[in-house]
Each structure stands twice: as structure tokens, then as C-alpha cells.
Symmetry: C2
Subunit: 171 residues, 2 copies
DNA sequence: GTCTATATAACGATAGAC
DNA sequence: GTCTATCGTTATATAGAC
């Protein structure tokens, strides 16, 4: 799965063949097919593995009864993960093939709904625009060439600082 | 090219074949090859067409001698275009195949450098993080499912409002 | 400029031996 | 679990007629 993720990040899902993945780990295509019945299942497994890292934080946030606190709790975890695994989340979030695939994958849809349930306070248009922009800001903020040479700790604190002030300014 | 862009937005570059593009406009593959020697050239032409829409605003911004004013000038145009052509810019910016392709395409690199030359005040780490986040915030802010039902005018003004706030939050 | 036809290669996926 | 071998399909790309 690490090999698959690295290849997909570089060439996209459509540009990554099972042969490339098999070569990347030194086995044949048939061996890969023994673990995953289709290419789609590899993508779904990759996404679930990455989203699973948010599960605990999401549950903790949902148990919190002060909404702004819940939001900050979750947001910090999202930023930590985005920085810690630079590129992984962004790859899975933006590849058009993955977007289409996950749109038909119910467990994924439910998880995303829970996520935004905590992050977006209400259904007002301005709240939704803010959430959409935030999502892009974090995802791109960790992979953009402009930040390639910035160490994790500095990047994390800067992301936190900017997202926090953005929310505070709204209230 | 419109047909190609729509298909790439939906299936990614790797998932879009020349056959699909040919079918989309009702001709054969051979007819498409008559206009573009390779699939890569289609992608480059698409990107150049989209970036060309920024050329005038970029030149005007570079002629401006008050940096913050130049930045706002360009930023407004970027937002206008992102909203006006929802999805087009985001598609081209995030598809991994396009990212790799354009990294080796010098005219594109020069244009991007000029863009960020105006948008990023200095080379300090926090300025670069902010620019990276801004780039993602706008690109995702116009295509995210959360904003799909918001009309262009509202979306544009909200994007403008929040990006301004992002700049303020950095200081 | 668009067509038919084709060359060559790679794709996803499966069967069956070990 | 991994292999070799293969099926059927599709891919990019080209040649040559109209």
C-alpha cells in the first residue's frame, strides 16, 4: 500500500498500473491480485487507512459538547496528520479518479459528513465557503512547492496559527 | 479543447483517452492527432489557454509600484477567473499528471514564478505558507461540494472577503 | 481535415501449477 | 502466496485514401 500510494501521488490513479505497483514491491501482478481483487479496492483501502487516522479525534470531537472546542480539537488533528503525512491526504483528496470512486462509496461519504458536521458550525453559505477554503488551504499548504523546504514543526505551527485566526475573525 | 477539459476534470488525464475526446466531439482519433501530435500537447495547450486569461492582470500588477495594491489587483482577477470557470483551474492545478508535465515545461514555470512574485511579498517562511494556503483555498473553494449550490456572485464576494482576512491574519 | 485500417504495446483480470 | 501464461480489451500513434 505504501508503494501504491507513492506511485499514485506521482502519476495519479489512472497513470498507475498494477504492473507498476507490482514492480515497486518486487512481485508479479498476480500476487497483487491475490490481495486486492481490483484496482478500485486498492484505492479504497488506501483512503480508509488514511481516514482511519482521524477516527479517534473525530469521536472525541463528537463527544465534546462545546462546538468551538470540538472544532479546534479536530482541526488540530487534521493539521497534524496533513503535515505528518505530507502529500498522502492531498493525493487522495484531489485525484479525479478517487473523487469519483469515493462519491459512490457510502462508508466514505458518511465519514466525510461527520467530519464536516464538526468543522462547519451551521449550514449558512459563508460557513460552507469557509470550510471549503480551509479544506483546500490545509491540503495544499502542506504540499505546495513553496513550502517544500519548511520543516514539519514550523509548518504545523504556521498552519495552526493561520487557520485559528481565520476562524476567530469570523466570530 | 472544451471537450478535453471536461473529460479530464471528470476522469483525470490518465483516465482520459484520445478516443474519449474524439467521441466527445464526434470525430475519430486520427482527426484529433491531426491537431495535436500527442496527448501531452493537449494538456499543455489547455493550461496555456487558462493561464492566458491571467496575462493582462499579471502585467498590470507588475507595472503597479505599490506592492500591496499589485497583490490585491492580481488576487481579485484570480478569484474572478476561478469562480467564472469553476473547476477548470483546479483541475489543471491538481491532476498529478499535469503537475509532473508542467514541472518540465519552462514557459509555464516562468509564468508561475511571476505570479508568486506578485502574490508573495517576501521569501520568509510564513509568507510562503500563506501563499500556498491561499492557492489551495481559492482553487478548492470554488469546486468543493459544500459550495456547489452557491451562485457566482455570492461565492466571489465571500472568497474575496475571506482571502483578505487571510492576509490580515498573517500579520 | 477527416476517414479506415492497422501496428505495437500495455492494460486489468483470471487460470492453474507449485 | 507467488509464479507463468494467457485472455480480451484498450491504449497511443501512424499510414495512406479521399
Amino acid at each position: 500500500m505504501d508503494a501504491a500510494l507513492a506511485l499514485i501521488a506521482e502519476h495519479g490513479v489512472g497513470g498507475t498500473s498494477l504492473q507498476m505497483i507490482a514492480d515497486g514491491i518486487g512481485v508479479t501482478k498476480a500476487a497483487v491480485y491475490h490481495q486486492f481483487k481490483t484496482k478500485e479496492q486498492i484505492v479504497i483501502a488506501l483512503t480508509e487507512r488514511e481516514l482511519g487516522r482521524l477516527e479517534e479525534a473525530l469521536e472525541a470531537a463528537e463527544a465534546e459538547d462545546h462546538p468551538p472546542r470540538a472544532r479546534d480539537l479536530l482541526l488540530d488533528r487534521v493539521i497534524d496528520l496533513a503535515v505528518e503525512r505530507r502529500g498522502a491526504a492531498s493525493t487522495l483528496q484531489f485525484d479525479p479518479v478517487i473523487v469519483r470512486l469515493l462519491a459512490d462509496h457510502e462508508p466514505f461519504q458518511r465519514f466525510i459528513e461527520r467530519l464536516y458536521g464538526v468543522l462547519v458550525g451551521d449550514a449558512a453559505a459563508d460557513s460552507r465557503v469557509l470550510a471549503a477554503m480551509l479544506s483546500g488551504a490545509i491540503a495544499v499548504g502542506v504540499v505546495h512547492p513553496l513550502v517544500a523546504d519548511i520543516d514539519d514543526e514550523s509548518l504545523r505551527s504556521e498552519l495552526r496559527r493561520i487557520t485559528r485566526r481565520l476562524f476567530d475573525a469570523a466570530n
